[in-house]
């Protein structure tokens, strides 16, 4: 059955990819959606089995690489952690597949699109069910590849192509760290198999490596390098620049890959490697800092963006930051919880915004929308649900997971913990403001679109709305239902078993009351507050912008990361390349190498030719000189 879960999406991708032209649009849509849906149902069954019967399994499919001591297999590992991921991946994927049937209905390359989606699903499943670091890396690059294909799906658009390459290359920077991490794991432990590695960690906590004269702890270094990989894939600050650009891809892609599944792979990696991370408190603190910085940074940028998808993209970035700082404070299960709930409401928001974009004929600027809530009643309601869930409105799913993260940050009890807790609360407030800004600007106020009359705005077809409804149900209930499971309370006591490792059990105390109540209160207050500043009295925002121009532009330009990187990496690489090519290769190596040599030979041969002038007296003269030279040498010796 595990094999079916994995291979159904692959088969679907192959059928749709290679036979798409023959079997037609409809058939390839149905095949891919059906196969992935079956895979999703099976995953849910497996999840159920894991919960009730503690089912775990490790199937070896085939041998992959074996060289010297290295032995790596293709395998499927089912445990608590991977079963949760399986459900998230296949379920959201199935929903997005169905949604795409409607969303992409006017696209000339539908089979190709569906094929990529299924292929992505396959790669993601390979990633989460791996039992070793190398297969994980395979899936990791595989999802990156599909993301590259899907971002650049509209290959005629130059920005889409640029964004696709950017995504791939920036991810490669992360993968560079990840790969080094894998090498180091093999170097230290002599294997890449999770279990074998995790069993040995406690023996190697004192192992040091000498790096340029500095002694570094091997475990710390491994954790750091793996985290670099996670930062790339999960768009954490410094390696986040690809994610907002990735919005050039079709919206279902953004929902599946850039919100619910692929970008959470980094979080999954850290959680999977919790047996290593638990021995590296320094790196855990580092993760906390990066996570909360990202959460804050992305939220501030989201405040001033005007592209509906970019706002949600930055929001994703920010929520991923939350997940990371949850892992950083050691609350791996809570990070998984937030990952789980986030998948529902963020996919919902993306697909909802897709529905809006669809209605506005591919318009994405929220300044050119407004006042359409009556024309898009379902989309509007669903987006509201998504927004409430995201902001952590009481009793919706985001409320449970986000509050738990903030609580556990507090309970960590060290400086970074308190700091993360404070920033987490503040960011939750910002999240609420930018999310409501999006809602108010998109659906309320005046209709601002000059390209088409308001009467043309129409609700999306059922095939697009039905998936949204499933996600909305998830966004409302997932938190409440699965709270105990992820926490490991009550009936689900010790759900995680060995799949997540805690060196010391998580604190079961309760933080002070005000911490628990502060976030929901702020979140609730922010609704009327945003309503006032973004809708009722717009002069407030205008004054704010006018008085704080530098800050506004700083945020608007996303903290100038793109500009900085362009100068630092893109332009300088090209300059360096040109310099090495023209100056070193051309002017030094060739000039003094082959070209120099041939001119040298030519020079001497011309001299030699001149030498043979044919005049007897010249030859006689040379002979005379030579003769006297030899004579002199003999005499002096």
């Amino acid at each position: 059955m595990e094999k079916l879960i994995i291979f159904l999406p692959l088969i679907a991708a192959i059928i749709s990819g290679f036979l798409g032209k023959i079997i037609g649009n409809k058939a390839s849509q149905i095949t891919t959606s059906l196969f992935v849906s079956i895979s999703a149902l099976l995953s849910i069954y497996v999840f159920y089995d894991v919960i009730n019967n503690d089912y775990t399994n490790n199937v070896v499919i085939a041998k992959w690489i074996s060289s010297g001591l290295l032995d790596v297999n293709w395998s499927i590992k089912i445990d608590q952690l991977s079963s949760v991921m399986l459900v998230v991946v296949t379920l959201v994927s199935a929903i997005v597949h169905i949604y795409s049937i409607g969303y992409m209905s006017n696209d000339p390359h539908q089979p190709r699109f569906m094929s990529y989606l299924s292929l992505f699903t396959f790669a993601m499943i390979v990633l989460v069910t791996s039992d070793n670091f190398l297969q994980l890396f395979f899936g990791w690059e595989g999802v990156g590849l599909c993301s590259y294909f899907l971002i650049g799906f509209w290959f005629k658009k130059p920005p889409a192509n640029a964004a696709a390459i950017k995504a791939f290359v920036v991810n490669r920077v992360g993968d560079f760290g990840f790969a080094l991490g894998i090498f180091l794991v093999f170097y230290v432990f002599g294997t890449l198999n999770y279990e074998e590695v995790f069993n040995q960690v406690s023996l190697f906590t004192d192992k040091n490596l000498n790096f340029l004269g500095i002694e570094l702890n091997a475990i710390n270094l491994i954790c750091f390098l793996l985290f670099i990989g996670a930062m790339g894939k999960s768009a954490q600050i410094f390696l986040h620049t690809w994610l907002p650009d990735a919005m050039e891809g079709p919206t279902p892609v953004s929902a599946l890959i850039h919100a619910a599944t692929m970008v959470t792979a980094g979080v999954f990696l850290i959680v999977r490697c919790s047996p290593i991370y638990e021995y590296s408190p320094i790196i855990l603190n580092f993760i906390t800092i990066i996570g909360m910085t990202t959460a804050l940074f992305a939220a501030t940028v989201a405040l001033v963006q005007n592209d509906i998808k970019k706002i949600i993209a930055y929001s994703t970035c920010s929520q991923l930051g939350y997940m990371f700082f949850a892992t950083g404070v050691g609350a791996y299960n809570i990070a998984m919880f937030h990952l789980f709930t986030h998948a529902f409401f963020k996919a919902l928001l993306f697909l909802g915004s897709g529905s809006v974009i669809h209605a506005f004929n591919d318009e994405q600027d929220i300044n050119k929308m407004g006042g359409v809530y009556k024309h898009l009643p379902y989309t509007y309601t669903l987006m509201i649900i998504g927004t409430l869930a995201l902001t952590g409105f009481p009793l919706l799913s985001g409320f449970y997971s986000k509050d738990l993260i903030i609580e556990f940050a507090y309970l960590k009890g060290n400086v970074t913990g308190y700091f993360a807790c404070a920033l987490g609360i503040f960011t939750a407030f910002l999240t609420s403001i930018y999310s409501w800004r999006l809602i108010f600007k998109t659906f309320h106020g005046e209709y601002n679109n000059k390209n088409q009359p308001i009467s043309r705005i129409h609700e999306s077809p059922l095939v697009m709305l039905a998936p949204l409804i499933i996600l909305a149900v998830g966004s409302m209930l997932a938190g409440f239902i699965f709270k105990d499971l992820f926490m490991g309370y009550g009936f689900f006591a010790d759900f995680w078993k060995n799949s997540i490792f805690f060196l010391e059990p998580l604190s079961s105390e309760h933080p002070p009351q005000f911490i628990i109540y502060l976030t929901p209160i702020l979140v609730t207050i922010s609704i009327p507050f945003s309503y006032y500043i973004f809708l009722k009295n717009k002069s407030v925002t205008n004054i704010l912008v006018d008085t704080n121009k530098p800050i506004y532009y700083f945020l608007k330009n996303k903290w100038y990361f793109d500009e900085l990187y362009d100068v630092l990496f893109v332009k300088s690489s090209k300059f360096l390349g040109r310099y090495l090519w023209k100056k070193i290769d051309g002017l030094i190596i060739d000039r003094f190498g082959p070209d120099g040599l041939s001119t040298l030979f030519k020079y001497f041969s011309i001299k030699a030719v001149k030498f043979q002038s044919g005049f007897i007296y010249q030859y006689a003269f040379v002979m005379l000189i030579g003769f006297s030279l030899i004579l002199t040498i003999i005499i002096f010796n």
Partner: protein, 497 residues
Amino acid sequence: MNFPILSSLILLPTIGGLFILFSRSSSNYNGAKYISLFISLANFFLSLYLWYVFDSNSSEFQFVEERIWLKGFINYKVGIDGISILFIILTTFITTLCIISVNSTIKYRLKDFLVAILLMETMMIGVFCSLDLVIFYLFFEAGLIPMFLIIGIWGGERRVYSAFKFFLYTLLGSVLMLVAIISIYWIAGTTDVIELYQLGIDAKYQNLLWLAFFSSFAVKTPMWPVHTWLPDAHVEAPTAGSVLLAAILLKMAGYGFIRFSIGLFPIASEYFVPLIFVLSLIAIIYTSFVALVQEDMKKLIAYSSVAHMGFVTMGIFTMTPQGIEGSIFQMISHGIISAALFLCVGVVYERMHTREISKYGGVVSVMPRYAVVFMIFTLGALGLPGTTGFIGEFLILLGTFKVNFIVATIASLGVILGAAYMLWLYRRIVFGEINNAEVKKLVDLDRSEMIILTLLAFLSILFGFYPDPLLSTTSVSVESLIDLFNMNIKIYTANTL
């Protein structure tokens, strides 16, 4: 086994070549093509049969043939182990594909062109199974001549300059190797490789001899800074020439490093590891930056070849099983992928008659099948897991990390750059709107192109997912080579203490 299978492999293409050369039907171009195709195919199946009967659990040289040539001085001696056999199959395979790919692009003297390719095949196979240094040298150098002619006669506008540059570079290195081989004869009394492995060469001579061999191999690899002949040679060579050059000719040097530098001069090899690492790193990083700004498709791929071969030389001198097996794998993989990339360039070059990247754009709209196969090779070249490119690079880096993790770290940076230049190349050619009216007239792959490229794509994915047939063929031989190396080092350090 009495049938001289290796000699047949070596001689068959020459016999075929001579037959074509002297056959009367000079006007019948197709005839010549079918004869050479038949011969190369026969040779390919023969080499597959060889692989089938080859015993990969033995570290001994197999199918050894020995014939007296100059009595008491040089014997004709050939034989193979797990390292050479893969290169032989690569040679017969790529040669066959090259002959299939030859078509209307070769406008004159097609017969002679095919003869040159077949002679090349003989020389290459000879290189990979020689067990005598003199024989090796003869094959190694003779292989230059057909290549020189291919570039010089059927090349582009600056073909004469490129051909001479190529010849000058490679010959200069080789002269030193010849001197070294003669010295070895005087020092050890034999040029028989198996005997030399057992006898060992006195440590005091090793450094000089190693350098002499190195000068020849470094040029052919090519390593920085003697790499500048490669881009020029590739740019001027006709497609089939580029393919042979990239896929097989460059591998002779890597093979030479493994078989001779490490096998014969272990102590010197150990001594020169830092030199190799530094030059390899420069090759990887430097040429990747250069590749980034190339405007000519072939030049870009040529520079990327230098970077890939940088990984190979680095991996070989880690002296770890992963490093060396990875290097062999990387060479085979590069043989498949670079051959395919040059064929891909050839495909559009034949139609558009330009290699300038900026003249293209939007090719996917008119050549969708081409876009798919080209994508697979692009991904292979940037080392995506699931393609052969990944396995090689991964094993090499894993091996290098064990020896020196700073080197491995720097080399891994090349992987980022590799992604950048390959994807950018692909994007500029294949994606985007069509701006050039010429592009609109392009026709998608024809049947023979489709067969060749799909076959290569299939192989690069197959061995990416299931590299075991290749790895298990080499592993025993590589391990025995490393054992030999370690034993030598141990004896040497024991003696010097």
